[in-house]
Symmetry: C2
């Protein structure tokens, strides 16, 4: 069944319509083993370089470039040294990847022989060959860098356009050991067009953070106008190009399997809709990195520079995941107390590894958990940017778990071993950093903590008072269905607090939606700093600032929102 899935547009490989054929594409040919997803389990035991099952199994395709990206972005002493070199003008000035006379020449077959620490780890870029063995030791993503060993980094850099910055290229050049056999440098780019060419059109009002992959947020001032965020204004957070599923081809289906059930289910969208009752849920979706830009003011973190608009609220309609899992024979028991449900999307990286994450089975099975497989958003068919034809909606849980373009569900004894579950979307203490972090020590973010935002006015704005009063509007939300019970505002750094009016329903549990608030406060000063903070139904409240919750990944930036405004008397 999987062989028939259409990945048209995923990478705009005209001849790569399925993951299998994608894996067989020439630039991966030398390493294409075990990329067929249905064979994944067989290959599991053969994985050589670490614990990341999905990636290992995806055929040791290649991800060195992603590794490089992370590595150069994060606080490696070498990066600092390089930055100094660039400042001092002593960094190599040659064009990165250009042919360098006098260096040894290696074929792509030579390069492909260097894939682990015993042989050294080599990659190529244009005409350059590089020994990146020394990257591996403290690579933040662990052994993930090895997945790209022995091949060209370029296909990755077409996916992660952000790599192509001088600093990254210059750093790569520091590891230069030779030239690639002439003629092979083009081969590495063979068939590699712009994988984002088939991405959908977006509304120009969105504030773009990166174009490729597309990541954009809603202007904050628009957010508070509607309890339900209009779909075209809704923030978009992608890791890869947007899959383009053609339902009329009959190729789309959802596969559902379980570790301990012989029975598997395979359903197309119509079957899913007609087999299970529909269920609607109004739930807010928030990126783990929402408000990262505020945290960056304490100290830079690594990730998209989100303001406060990587959040929205929508009505989602679909079928209950619980109903589907019951049909599969899953029952809650002491035995599966800590099992997980893994979701895979049709969006894949060049190793054919799909975006995949998992949530606790207990959340999936909870009748009050409201986890649905959604085919509608705000009363209309899901758009491609929001996961057409099917996405998981996990109310109360961070956006990273709401897998789009859903094609596979697996009930498993352990949580997903994907990069996004294991080595991203986690938080650490403020003194942890990339050079010494152990991702296995922190849990994957599921439910998110309470947060609140002033949407109107904006930081730095000049506001005309009305009757001597400053009008403020914003939103507040907490994870786990813990409704917001109070929003407090201070205009004097916490000496006195005002209770804001809550505009949307206050429920103490299963409150998946945000609560918008407003306040109208007398003020006489010419400028003021506004503080807002929320309290949820478990009386959790926010930390006062970002300083003590700072984390290298810039997630969970839920300190008080503080803005400065200038005031004009009326």
């Amino acid at each position: 069944m999987l062989l028939n899935q259409v990945y048209k547009g995923c990478l705009v490989f005209s001849r790569c319509q399925t993951r299998k054929s994608f894996a067989e594409a020439s630039w991966l040919r030398t390493l294409s083993t075990g990329t067929e997803r249905s064979n994944r389990h067989e290959f599991n035991e053969k994985a050589q370089f670490g614990s990341s099952r999905l990636f290992m199994l995806a055929g040791l395709g290649a991800a060195a470039a992603a590794g490089f990206y992370y590595y150069t972005k994060y606080n490696l002493p070498k990066v600092l040294a390089l930055e100094n070199k660039v400042k001092e003008g002593t960094a190599s000035e040659r064009e990165p990847g250009s042919y360098v006379d006098g260096l040894p020449v290696y074929s792509s077959v030579d390069v492909a022989k260097h894939r682990d620490e015993s042989t050294g780890v080599w990659v190529s870029y244009k005409s350059g060959v590089y020994d990146i063995t020394h990257f591996i030791k403290s690579h933040p993503g662990g052994n993930k860098i090895l997945l790209g060993a022995g091949v060209s980094v370029e296909p990755f850099w077409n996916l992660y356009a952000i790599h192509k910055q001088p600093k990254t290229l210059a750093l790569l050049e520091e590891y230069r050991i030779g030239n690639l056999t002439k003629g092979e440098e083009d081969d590495s780019m063979m068939n590699m067009g712009d994988p984002y060419a088939n991405d959908p059109q977006r509304h120009p009002v969105l504030t773009i953070r990166t174009k490729k992959p597309f990541n954009a947020e809603t202007p904050t001032s628009l957010l508070v106008d509607n309890f339900i965020t209009p779909t075209e204004f809704f923030y978009v957070r992608h890791h890869f190009p947007v899959p383009d599923v053609d339902l009329s081809s009959g190729d789309y289906s959802l596969e559902i399997i379980s570790d301990n059930e012989k029975k598997g289910l395979s359903l197309n969208l119509d079957q899913l809709k007609t087999t299970y009752a529909s269920h609607s849920v109004t739930a807010s979706l928030q990126c783990s990195g929402n408000r990262r830009s505020e945290m960056n003011r304490t100290k830079p973190t690594k990730g998209l520079e989100w303001a406060q608009g990587a959040m929205g609220n929508a009505v989602w309609k679909g079928v209950r995941l619980r109903d589907v899992l019951l049909d599969l024979g899953i029952k809650e028991s002491d035995e599966n107390e800590h099992w997980h449900v893994e979701f895979e999307g049709l969006d894949i990286d060049p190793t054919s590894a799909p975006y995949a994450v998992s949530i606790p089975l207990s959340k999936a099975m909870d009748p009050r958990g409201d986890v649905i497989l959604a085919y509608e958003m705000n009363g209309e068919t899901l758009t491609r940017d929001h996961g057409f034809p099917l996405r998981v909606v996990v109310p109360g849980t961070t956006g990273a778990r709401w897998v789009k373009w859903l094609t596979r569900i697996e009930v498993a004894r352990n949580e997903s071993q994907s990069h996004w579950q294991q080595n991203d979307y986690k938080s650490f203490n403020p003194s942890s950093d990339w050079d010494k972090v152990d991702f296995s020590t922190a849990p994957a973010i599921q439910e998110m903590p309470v947060t609140s935002v002033v949407c109107d006015p904006q930081d730095g704005e000049t506001v005309e008072l009305k009757d001597g009063k400053l009008k403020l509007k914003g939103y507040a939300w907490s994870g786990g269905g813990r409704g917001v019970v109070r929003v407090d505002i201070s205009l004097d750094s916490g000496k006195t607090w005002h209770v804001a009016e809550l505009l949307d329903p206050v429920k103490l549990s299963r409150q998946w939606a945000w609560t918008r608030w407003q306040a109208n406060l007398p003020v006489t000063a010419k400028e003021t700093e506004v503080w807002v903070r929320a309290v949820d139904s478990s009386y959790n409240t926010q930390p006062e600032g970002m300083e003590h919750i700072w984390n290298m990944r810039g997630v969970l930036a839920v300190g008080y929102h503080k803005i400065k405004v200038s005031l004009k008397a009326d």
Copy 2:
């Protein structure tokens, strides 16, 4: 059935063995209407003075004294004025309640005619008659003060021994309007011994906060020695004298009823044990006011002066409440989504109102909620101080809901209307105070937010370093089964953070027990301030201090725990 219940020892009224007879006691006789608990519903509609159903229905018995206590404890301008008078020596120096020549004389029947605002509200104390009408307006407990209208305050002050302080008595005297008819002043004390005389013996290691009612905590340094807190060291928090149930009399039973089920259940302890499967749960119990003394450093709050020992961890064994409710015919549905389950104890105030509170039905019915009706604590029969013969265990929820001496369960459309649900155990913003607070705006505390404590060393201690290192030990916990995933320590006011070692199991859900932690940190200073804070599985963390979460009731004091220690090099 209820008529047969034995309340022996509740108030040590030798002839008040049941609530009915208690209500018929002479000092309440003039107002004893509707005190029979099984008649409560009939009287509900007749309640005259407000919304507090339990109290109104309990027969308008009397609670002016409690009102006085609250009123004088809280920040009334009058109290401040009185304090000035006392300082200045201008306050009345007559013995409170003494006969004052020249004042009008009233009979207890006259006093009893003044029970609402239309007539004025009078009370008596010894030989004094007082018009406390002006107390009512801004009384923190709302109309509760009216329940004691028209009678003597003394029985209440025997219960709440803390009332008998000069300030409260002097304030009462400010409202003096007359003398009670000679002879009647003794009548008001008729049969009123020490209701606490039959309280059990306690271990002397407990730090007593009040003797009557008995409230005492575990010395913090003892807490970390054991994952399971020994029962005799476990903190005790009572509102009234300790009931003394004699199972051999056959009088004890548990009544279970539902608003929408015709069927009711009545079970004695043996029936309960033999009808339902036993279930054990390891869960920490914490008072809402734990750590209040730390919050009081910001500004005084009102409540018991708990340090960090109003918390403990125990193994509780009993039957699942869910099983009992299923037996009663309760099923979860959209209809009862927001219903509550009310618990009543055998501990009662002088109006015959039992201690009563409620929890959401969804928590009670959740198979993963682990709510049990416990008859064992730490492998032994419950002690009287911990609720013999039966207490509710509501894991992840504040101690106020863990009703002891459980005798009645009611599944109801609304949450409990008791004082303890409606007008206590709630939190407000720091700028709210008793004179302007509206208790209906805040939800009753159920799940509690994440907290952490340094237990060893103690604040102010001098510690001898070992190998230049400071050893720290403590506990951390979060409500709702959200396990503690990280404990951070800072010795430099948050500039750098160390991750503590967690000593007890880390589960991401259903983690009802606390997690003890330890750290061993190098330090060269002669003194240091230690900060600790925890992070739970929803990545909620603690506010940096108490200042911005200060609330007049002093609950939810969950800011970072900060202690100063002096250090001696080894």
